[in-house]
């Protein structure tokens, strides 16, 4: 997990109980201004079959009311 280009979190996703779906939880850092960006990068690997993959997503962040004031 990257916030404004800086990594702040790394976690291992666990099987979510549905076929091929994995999940986890994390807490966002302090957001100071509108339009800060959360970049999510998820890697998947299965060494025994030589299969590797990456998924990416970017999400807009906003401060809470008091932090943005």
């Amino acid at each position: 997990m990257f916030h404004n280009g800086e990594q702040f979190e790394e976690l291992e996703l666990a099987y979510a109980g549905r076929t091929s779906v994995f999940s986890g939880r994390f807490t966002l850092p302090l957001v100071q201004v509108d339009y800060e960006v959360l970049d999510i990068r998820i890697t998947a690997s299965q060494a025994e079959t030589r299969n590797f993959g990456v998924g990416r997503q970017s999400v807009k962040l906003v401060p809470s009311a008091e932090e943005g004031a």
Partner: protein
């Protein structure tokens, strides 16, 4: 030497899984003359992902048909060849998932009138499609918020 029609079948498959079919956007296939780089044929591999029983469950024996079943995706072209031609055949896909796009290629000789069909020339692409399901790209998240993350992971 007189030119003769020569059929070429190419099949891009996922490593440890089935054929890369229309469900994931298919694959782009190109057949080039190896020395000059001239494109002899190109197009899309579209269709079904093949027969699960023959691809995933039946132990493979020499000469067995694994991929060439009804509806199974492949790319097929007919070339007019006047002489033995060295070619390079490349597959790129799955086209619906840019982050998962992979490439595989092989070189071979094509001989006039000697069809490369049936199972075809099989190209194996390695990789996973990783979809971030939650959060969605249109979501807006707040400072210090606890966030649920969910991803779908499947072979190409």
């Amino acid at each position: 030497m007189r030119a003769q029609s020569t059929r070429v079948v190419v099949r891009a498959v996922s490593c440890d899984a089935k054929i890369i079919g229309s469900l994931v956007g298919g694959c782009r296939i190109s057949v080039r003359e190896r020395d000059s780089g001239e494109v002899l044929a190109e197009g899309l591999q579209l269709g079904g992902s093949g027969d699960t029983e023959s691809i995933m469950k039946t132990p493979r024996t020499r000469g067995a048909t694994v991929f060439d079943t009804p509806g199974a995706a492949c790319f097929e072209a007919t070339l007019d060849l006047a002489e033995p031609t060295p070619v390079e055949i490349v597959a790129e896909g799955p086209l619906a998932y840019p982050d998962a796009l992979q490439l595989a290629g092989k070189s071979t000789w094509l001989l006039p009138g000697r069809h490369l069909d049936g199972e075809g020339l099989v190209l194996t692409l390695h990789g996973f499609i990783v979809d971030v399901i939650i959060p969605a790209s249109v979501d807006v998240l707040g400072s210090r918020q606890a966030v649920e993350i969910e991803a779908g992971v499947r072979l190409l």
